[in-house]
Symmetry: C2
Subunit: 334 residues, 2 copies
């Protein structure tokens, strides 16, 4: 029931995902009176869907601290409970990020050895994709958090993205060792001495995110959130500039006709809906957050992210990696 266009894009998104993942079944948590009539109209979908009725929902401006206490019958909380109790393999929500985070941490708990979960997502680059975390779960992070994010990101890039030897960078304002705050310096030191040393690239800067210098960019949730939104906004601005340029003269308008096919392909390539679905990594359960303003295509992408996480057993791999890292004294900082 969460997000700007719920519940219809959730249903339509599931209908797209159903064709891509024929073995996946869905439990829809929400108001049956709203869901059932829409569901009936999507042929084929009712076969793989069950509705779990609740009339309560989390609103976009509900305070996470409040929702945690009073929202036990909300659609979001009931969906998280289903993951905790093993009735669902993962949850996908387009609702209130803070509430999802707070309730998921409280209900699912973090994986053993992980202090805080992180929000992770992809950036397009010239040659592929960069994974970045944290994108907003933690306003400030200490060195231990950053090291744990590096471990989780490396596992994800290896297991889900199939990068054989993923490289990891710490986001900073210069590549020299003396740059940045104490948490960054300490995290870099720990990573250089850990068994991730061969994959640790050192510090990277903002422009290394879109240029794809490393496979995994690690940062605190404040910086990551600002960087993500600045990149999205800048991409939007440049697209608007290009659109304006093509409308600025008759010759440009003719050029657009010839170039349209190529530009359409580019639009598909950089379509934000292709990058929808941020993962809450480090939880004892699969939890994916969709953009609140996405459409059915974007929501289907977010479902795909959750399916990948389940199929690749990412959480199990992270837990194993952390357990082996803690045997290694260098990672057992505290």
């Amino acid at each position: 029931m969460g997000g700007d266009n719920a519940p219809h894009i959730v249903l339509a998104g599931a209908n797209i995902a159903r064709l891509r993942y024929p073995d996946v079944r869905f439990i829809l948590f929400g108001d049956e009176a709203e869901l059932a009539p829409r569901l009936k109209k999507l042929r084929g979908l009712p076969d793989v869907v069950e509705i779990h009725h609740t009339s309560e929902r989390v609103l976009a401006d509900d305070k996470p601290s409040q929702v945690v206490r009073t929202g036990k019958q909300t659609s979001m909380r009931l969906a998280i409970d289903a993951v905790k109790e093993g009735r669902a393999a993962g949850i996908v929500s387009a609702g209130n990020t803070g509430a999802l985070m707070a309730m998921a941490v409280l209900t699912l708990r973090t994986l053993p050895g992980i202090n805080r979960p992180a929000i992770a997502s992809f950036f397009p680059t010239l040659h592929g994709e960069t994974l970045m975390l944290d994108l907003g779960a933690n306003v400030s992070c200490d060195a231990v958090n950053l090291v744990q994010f590096a471990i989780m990101g490396e596992v994800f890039a290896r297991e889900v993205l199939g990068t054989k030897v993923p490289t990891v960078g710490l986001l900073n304002i210069g590549s020299e060792e003396i740059k940045g705050n104490e948490a960054l310096k300490q995290a870099a030191q720990t990573l250089r001495e850990s068994d991730l040393a061969d994959r640790f690239h050192g510090f990277v800067e903002g422009d290394d995110i879109p240029s794809g210098t490393v496979d995994v960019v690690v940062t605190d949730g404040f910086t990551g959130n600002v960087a993500l939104k600045t990149a999205e906004g800048t991409a939007k601005l440049i697209r608007a500039f290009v659109r304006e340029a093509f409308q600025s003269s008759n010759s440009a308008r003719i050029g657009y006709v010839f170039a349209k096919r190529a530009l359409d392909k580019l639009r598909v390539r950089t379509d934000p809906r292709r990058y929808n679905g941020a993962m809450l990594l480090g939880l004892n359960g699969v939890c994916v957050k969709s953009h609140g303003s996405t459409d059915a295509v974007g929501f289907a992408t977010a479902i795909g992210v959750a399916v990948d996480m389940v199929k690749q057993a990412v959480n199990k791999s992270i837990a194993e990696r952390v357990a082996s890292g803690q045997a290694d004294s260098a990672l057992a900082v505290s």
Copy 2:
């Protein structure tokens, strides 16, 4: 003598600036043996230039803390001294940012009532430009720093950019009052109660920078630096994508021929050289930092920024504004 392409782009840049600002004279600090032969080749420039010889220079990887102690005869330090002693109205350098910052603070001192200077520069937006500060002078900032940056940014937008009633936003990871760290919440509270209240827009997010939601974006140096470089990198990526698209088929190549004029105009509009020249605001003297990798055109832009700051007497206006603000108890936080 600083930057990747010194000293020739500095000389060539001055030669461009000379035509734009016929009343400006230049003192070049550096190695006369390198400067004099190049200078002679640029007709007209010797008339407005004097060389102040020194064989020492700050290198790109010199540590600021060291340069401050041992670099008293470097071209950078001598140029700053000239500003302090009133022999120059301002300094423009493409050299080591940390060293410039450290020596400028030590030599020129901050303006009365300003605890820390901030690096400020412009972002292009759809409808004009956004001023952002701090872009890297201060890794962490307290509420007082952020409030002072807001004051300086507002003065600059009003006096130099000519914006009648500039709006100011604090960069955060959400627009709600509960978001962000304590420094941000405290700064927002102070600004809401200050005589900048009518210009204070509240919190803004990363995508508000390129969309131009406010005239002035205030942030700490770490976040600002990451945001700036992420935006630059993303713009570069999208341009590379567009270039690839135009080379991807014969039809697209024909389209490019028709659209070339419009796209060239766009390139000029978003040319990073048009935005070269970051100001060190809050110092008792005009100090402008050029990108180390810029060319003559970019360096001339940076000179123009310094000329504007001198002509508009920005520092005087900031000092007056701070003094009047301190009478106002709300701004006298400490």
